[in-house]
Symmetry: C2
Subunit: 342 residues, 2 copies
């Protein structure tokens, strides 16, 4: 236990849903109490990420919502423990922690929280890995595990392979000997993108149009598991190469086009079309211990050099508007994060 | 053992795929041998049904196909045992039998088969129940069992509720205390159709357009299981009323329109879109003993008066062309069967 080191903290707050630039305000929060209660920790935030689900939360388009008014958004980030209240054995001042569950409000410089909601991570994985740890890599890990038991040599196919989850899928699959069939949009820097994904461990990188031919030429076996974050024809392309009994798992819909589930594929090829949401049934099924184990598995991959942190562009919390202006630029290629110490 | 009672049998035969009226021919088959081999039975067919999958088989559009040339179509029917070869203990002359597996060729007056491929049924269920036993009722039974564990009081929703499977679903669900939400097309004889389905045990009968309001007004709980044999908007209507974690199971595509699997429903409501095919993974998973048990369960429902046989229109095998001409009439409402004794 120690006394608070900060007179007060700042937080991005919204009182009603809307576009982030319209409804967010950076506000001074009430000072942390002199004495923490049982099970509480005071956290100083280091870096917090901005994910699509955060923007949707502020817009009121996400199923999990913080209580209005005075809501602080931010599902993901890394904080340092400043002091601990009575009966907090698991955490010590100076520890880095990440959220165990979404919607705790990470877009702030600090605050007081229930210790049970936070999980320690070692500092040697670095600030970027830690501040982007709890959503994309565990989503990739879970999708590779829960739908089909994949063995080394098996394949997984995905569209949107340059997305943060997509790149995590490539790396985690590679670490397990699972081979990846990656579909990306045709783009001006196609060669460089293919080279980058292959550098991460991708076995095949192709476009929707060339998928079938390139897969045949590659000699890779057809996958049981397909991952879709695009929808429309990009989803159909992946579903069409699945082995009988396979599953197309949708975790995003970047094209805003729905997925078609062809009747004959469902009936005669036994293809299933399912969804994945890290905060949905999966979270309920794995429970806190399972959640902690999956975060530790991601940390381990970082420590072994088998996961590379995403590229980020950081903005001081006090310059938060510039962060959301940057987000609005198309084809950024870098994840936007908030430096909560500035 | 006994000698053959028929000098020879006739069968509908096709040598190449195409429209049934173009490619089928009624032919005399070689006479049954004087001595049957071990495990063989000679069967005299009584009545065989014509299902959409039979027509698709003749057209070459079905995944299971008999060997050409000289193929005899017909997946379903009932036959009487004429005589048994050595080591056939399970069947006796005079027994009625139905196929254990599809594609044995039931559109014939008789022939010699492996006894293991046939399952005895009691005669008191009647010719119509027996000749339509192995496809639609077991499909309804399996779909009610394998996707979600339904309890008495739970609901199941389905479109195409006047189809043969749909009517079996209503009756089997009723026998188990499971309540049915049935979607049918608007039609001139709407009131009579609603009354008929309610007579079979339907709890709610409505149209795609009124489904949501009528379900709310009924006080019935939302279903975990939806059954779809239509596709398009009729599939979407059923998928939209499913409870979180529910499954839309497609077993047909009568509208020829594909199923849309909405991204948000898959991700945030954990709705799955799957297919069912009686001869697919399900058949492999249940094996012959499971298959026999499910046929016996259907027989039991008939004996208890909990299943009513479908309405049929019978044509003599020798007048088979009239049967296919009748099939081409829209909105028949009766299943077409072949009287194989005439």
């Amino acid at each position: 236990m120690a006394t608070s080191t900060a007179a007060s903290y700042k937080a991005l707050v919204f009182d009603q849903t809307g576009e982030p630039l319209d409804v967010l305000q950076l506000k001074d929060m009430p000072p942390a109490p002199a004495e923490l209660k049982e099970g509480e920790v005071e956290l100083k935030f280091l870096q917090s990420s901005i994910n699509p689900s955060d923007v949707n939360t502020v817009q009121g388009k996400y199923p999990i919502s913080p209580k209005l008014p005075g809501a602080v958004p931010g599902h993901e980030g890394v904080a340092e423990v400043v002091r601990t209240g009575p009966k907090v054995d698991r955490l010590s001042p100076g520890d880095w922690v990440v959220p165990m569950a979404p919607s705790q409000g990470t877009w702030r410089s600090g605050g007081v929280f229930a210790a049970a909601g936070w999980h320690p991570v070692p500092k040697d994985i670095g600030l970027v890995a830690a501040s982007t740890l709890i959503i994309n890599p565990p989503s990739a890990l879970a999708m590779l595990e829960i739908f089909h038991p994949l063995q080394p040599g098996d394949t997984v196919a995905q569209n949107g392979a340059t997305s943060a989850v997509g790149e995590a899928v490539i790396q985690i699959a590679k670490a397990r000997g699972i081979r990846t069939i990656n579909v990306i949009r045709d783009r001006p820097d196609m060669e460089a993108t293919v080279a980058r994904l292959k550098g991460l461990g991708a076995d095949l990188v192709t476009t929707e149009e060339n998928l079938k031919d390139d897969l045949a030429a590659s000699g890779l076996p057809a996958p049981m598991l397909g991952l879709n974050c695009v929808g429309g024809s990009a989803a159909s392309a992946v579903s069409r190469i699945l082995k009988d009994g396979g599953t197309l798992v949708t975790y995003g819909g970047m094209s805003m086009q729905q997925v078609t589930a062809p009747t004959a594929a469902m009936i005669f090829k036994d293809i299933s079309f399912r969804g994945f949401w890290l905060s949905g049934r999966w979270a309920a099924a794995q429970g806190p211990a399972g959640r902690a184990a999956s975060l530790d598995a991601i940390v381990q991959l970082y420590r072994e050099g088998k996961l590379v942190p995403p590229q980020v562009q950081a903005f001081p919390l006090t310059s938060w508007k510039a962060a959301f202006e940057a987000l609005a630029q198309p084809h950024r290629g870098k994840k936007v994060v908030l430096d909560c110490t500035a």
